[in-house]
């Protein structure tokens, strides 16, 4: 192997690693706040990427309709939850968040779809749609069982993943899509070629990591989210609305997933089920970070990206085997380092 290939593989690994880092961060965020292991994170990636690609190619993305449908269901859930004490303000707020918002997003999508829009319009719309879906997903799937064990939440996650992946196939078909690059800038540095797209990946990842770190470490709201994670009852007693924290976490995770998808869809062709595998690699890195540490997660992501790049060069057939087997010794180490605390169940 010569130095060029080495650099090339490193660059490739770091680009992929940055995406895994983003996803890993979102997973850590959601787990820390809600104890949900967010298997559908990969679907946020797929939805973001394919919605953007559809819009950019002048098609109407059906995800906008799904957002409205989920919003309606979420509204019905809210109505049902409040059936023993109708409260006009609460109902109006629920209607605005669930129905008006998703309706407006659908209207905007209808208005802009099928035209040649500036990139930021397509990106913005795609992110709005995914954000709505993330928000309502929490309300529909997780909020009713927010008190359940991590395991129950995980099985619910599997259900949400299956349903969302099934919808992805309905909406986008079995053929993959590619989206246009967000910027056409490119320059070379020695043998390496840098595109605006890959630079975008680095910059956005770094910005989000720093942003999350500041948010959770130094703002009242971020600390409130963390408090929810440690003790739901305690958080409620000091006036933190835990369901709101959950929705915020999901909103952020969906947007991060959507951004990741939009960042990679110009680089690689995405299929309706690609997001899942990418999301699982996000898991690998999130678990290395113990589902709690942002800096370790980010470092692990780069490491996994590089290992993946090298194994796809040397043993391309076994790339996935290597990446997913990698996690086992780490899981064992993690378990040994933090022995089980008996969860008081039921």
């Amino acid at each position: 192997m010569n130095a060029t290939i080495l650099l090339f593989l490193l660059q490739d690994g770091i680009t992929n690693g940055a995406i895994y880092a983003l996803l890993g961060l979102a997973l850590v965020l959601v787990f820390a706040v809600t104890r949900v292991i967010l298997i559908p994170q990969g679907e946020f990636v797929t939805y973001g990427a394919l919605t953007y690609a559809a819009l950019a190619s002048g098609k109407f993305p059906d995800t906008a309709q799904l957002a409205l449908a989920m919003g309606l269901v979420a509204f019905v859930f809210d109505l049902f939850a409040n059936r023993h004490g109708f409260n006009l303000r609460r109902t109006a707020r629920s209607f605005a968040v669930n129905v008006v918002l998703s309706g407006a997003v659908l209207a905007a999508t209808l208005a802009f779809a099928g035209r040649k829009n500036p990139v930021f319009v397509d990106v913005g719309l795609a992110l709005l749609i995914v954000a709505c879906i993330g928000l309502y997903l929490y309300r529909i799937v997780y909020q009713p069982i927010a008190h359940a064990s991590v395991l129950t939440l995980l099985i619910a996650s599997v259900g949400a993943h299956l349903a969302m992946q099934g919808f992805a196939l309905v909406f986008f078909g079995a053929e993959g899509l590619r989206g246009p690059a967000i910027s056409d800038v490119s320059f070379s540095l020695g043998a390496l070629m840098f595109t605006g797209q890959s630079l975008g990946v680095y910059v956005i990842t770094a910005a989000l990591i720093v942003g999350l770190w500041l948010f959770f470490g130094y703002t009242l709201y971020g600390r409130a989210l963390r408090a929810t994670a440690v003790n739901r009852l305690g958080a409620r007693l000091v006036g933190i609305r835990t369901s709101l924290s959950g929705r915020m976490a999901f909103l952020l995770a969906a947007v991060i997933g959507g951004i990741s998808g939009i960042l990679i869809v110009p680089i690689t062709t995405l299929y309706y089920d690609t997001g899942f595998i990418i999301g699982l690699k996000g898991f690998v890195v999130a678990i290395i970070g113990g589902l709690v540490s942002y800096p370790i997660t980010a470092a692990a992501a780069i490491g996994v990206g590089i290992i993946e790049a090298f194994s796809s060069f040397y043993a391309s057939n076994y790339k996935e085997v290597i990446v997913f087997t990698l996690i086992l010794p780490i899981l064992v180490l993690r378990s040994l380092a933090a022995p089980e605390v008996e969860e008081e169940q039921d």
């Binding site: 069982i145 359940a148 395991l151 349903a163 196939l169 678990i287 085997v321 996690i327 086992l328």
Partner: protein, 590 residues
């Protein structure tokens, strides 16, 4: 055998189905698929529903079973019957290797770990040359008896359903045994089970292997039914489907696996054929419906369909008979220590980070003595219990039992020496009867293993364990509640059940953590009477209790802790007057 009558009827019904005139062959194919799925799901019931270990990788074990027979029958021409033990062995060995890593994983790391190796194995199946990569292996020979080759769905139907029914009976036998109780206790955490000698890591590995072998059996049958294998049915999606089946059926119930498999396989068939026909669309609708059903079920019926169905069933199974004539279990040889000191705690210290929970505490419990450990909340009483029973390791100091050091001994070894305990927060298995819960206490006094239990060779052993449990239940006065679920008792009664469970150990030292909490006045008096009679019968008691009337009346000696430090020790009358104790309880100003 009356309890087995429904199974016999079910077996007969299944046996005559192929003889129904004009039954479409396709129905038999569906029934075969149901049976294959039920086998895997049955393993998951044991693993997840009963043992509390979630696996997203069961389909991979089917893969081991299927590929083993596929390779050996096609490449080496061995008879499928000879590959059956090999298939089971390979699945079992894979489970040992993965299990040694996996069952050590705690909490949510465990399902994630299974997800990871489930995926890795799927990719491995689809990349290995000798497994035929993505195309797999075809023209696998059918099962055959003599010259009769089981080529049709009808022919292999009997093989599949015989496997399902035999596996179900073996699994039910296993659950209703000494080993089964240990497995059923796993889901409620390992501390209580270990306090009675259960090797929890080994029990977890056992269910893990058992579930894998069932999946391997399903894979072996699948290979000879389809007569071709490829990686797809052994992927993550299939694993998730099996978990779905277990949840739908009722994750804690063996027959729930069969019911769930029936519902899911038929539903899948309907969704795959009917929905596209009606709506004229081609998509994996069943996946969407399954996904939505999965989380909706968790919200509305987290226990699954089987328990709901059973609630409608008008005939209750008779309570488990206890053979009171069973020979009593061997009693512990009790040789009192020469110096009369049963338990000696010498400078025990436990630090949690900067907090010193137990600060160089020393005291003794002598034979035939009731010692009370009292002190305000947070004084380190329960931590002291945990140090003695090996739940946590002391930072410094020594604990000796009858002169032998038990520093660093595992909880299972401590209980072997005759130290039994109860817990401040009751740790019973709520969905097991009082009798079964108490019988866990006698775990170390039984000998039957898993295989003996499955084959019902354990009945003599089992009868003695249950008789002992019933005796101890009678001793604490709960005979009327013996067959009720432990979770349905009042908290006070549950504490008494814990005492009965501890008595089943045939202890020399009983550690009771707040035994009188939640008891009424009369019940407390009865408890005190029981403890006195135990003391006079040669059992020493160390108890933590907040009810001062109870303690002063009962204890021979009292040790007082405050902020982890021993501040006083002596007979009750002395302790009552001790200014240090009064200060600790009432504050400095009093």
């Amino acid at each position: 055998m009356r309890a087995r009558l429904p199974i016999l009827i079910f077996a007969l019904v299944m046996a005559v189905i192929p003889f129904v005139p004009d039954i479409p062959p396709f129905w038999l194919v569906l029934l075969n698929n149901i049976g294959l799925a039920a086998l895997v799901a049955m393993g998951l019931v044991l693993l997840t529903g009963v043992g509390g270990l979630t696996s997203f990788g069961q389909a991979a074990f089917c893969g081991f079973g299927a590929y083993t027979t596929a390779v050996i029958t096609t490449a080496y021409g061995l008879s499928p019957w000879l590959t059956l033990p090999l298939s089971l062995l390979v699945s079992g060995l894979a489970a040992v290797i993965l299990g040694l890593m996996t069952v050590r994983l705690s909490g949510h790391y465990l399902p994630l770990g299974t997800l990871a190796w489930g995926l890795a194995l799927y990719y491995l199946f689809s990349k290995l040359e000798f497994l035929g990569r993505n195309d797999g292996i075809s023209s696998i020979p059918p099962l055959a008896i003599g010259s009769y080759r089981m080529l049709s769905a009808e022919a292999i139907y009997y093989a599949i359903w015989a496997a399902v029914i035999i596996s179900a009976v073996l699994t039910l036998n296993l659950l209703d045994s000494r080993t089964g109780r240990a497995i059923r206790a796993l889901r409620r955490g390992h501390i209580a089970a270990e306090a009675f000698g259960v090797q929890t890591a080994r029990a977890k590995l056992l269910v893990f292997i058992y579930a894998a072998v069932l999946a391997g059996l399903s894979g072996w049958l699948y290979a000879h039914f389809q007569r071709t294998v490829n990686p797809t049915p052994f992927g993550l999606l299939a694993s998730m489907e099996y978990l779905f089946i277990a949840v739908v059926g009722g994750a804690g119930h063996v027959w729930g696996a069969v019911l769930g498999a029936g519902v899911v396989v038929i539903l899948k068939e309907v969704l795959q054929n009917a929905v596209p026909a009606i709506f004229n669309v081609q998509a994996q609708f069943e996946i969407i419906v399954f996904g939505i059903m999965l989380f909706v079920l968790l919200q509305v019926a987290p226990t699954g369909m089987w328990p709901r169905l059973m609630a409608l069933w008008p005939w209750r199974a008779p309570p488990k008979a206890v053979d009171t004539d069973a020979a009593p279990l061997a009693a512990r040889g009790k040789t009192p220590p020469a110096d009369g000191v049963l338990l000696r705690i010498d400078g025990a210290r436990k630090e949690f980070g900067g907090v010193v929970a137990v600060n160089d505490v020393s005291f003794e419990v002598r034979t035939n003595e009731i010692v009370a450990l009292i002190g305000p909340n947070g004084a380190g009483k329960s931590t002291t219990f945990n140090l003695v029973t090996g739940v946590i390791k002391a930072t410094a100091g020594h604990v000796a039992l009858g002169g032998d050091s038990i520093d660093g001994a595992a909880p299972q070894d401590v209980v072997k020496r005759g130290v039994a305990r109860t817990f401040q927060h009751v740790k019973l298995v709520p969905d097991m009867t009082v009798l079964e819960n108490v019988a866990i206490g006698a775990h170390l006094r039984g000998h039957a293993g898993a295989v003996a239990s499955m084959l019902r060779l354990d009945r003599a052993d089992e009868a003695r364990l249950l008789a002992e449990a019933a005796r101890q239940i009678a001793r604490v006065g709960l005979t009327d509640q013996m067959h009720q679920l432990a979770g349905s008792l009042s908290l006070g009664q549950q504490r008494i059940v814990e005492i009965a469970r501890a008595l089943c150990v045939d202890p020399v030292l009983l550690l009771l953590d707040e035994p009188a909490a939640g008891l009424r006045h009369m019940e407390k008096q009865k408890l005190a009477e029981l403890l006195r009679s135990l003391r006079d019968g040669g059992v020493s008691v160390l108890l933590v209790e907040h009810d001062m009337g109870f303690v002063m009346d009962l204890a021979d000696r009292i040790v007082v802790l405050d902020f982890g430090t021993r501040i006083a020790e002596g007979p009750p009358a002395e302790i009552k007057r001790n200014p240090e104790v009064i200060k600790a309880y009432l504050g400095g100003a009093a």
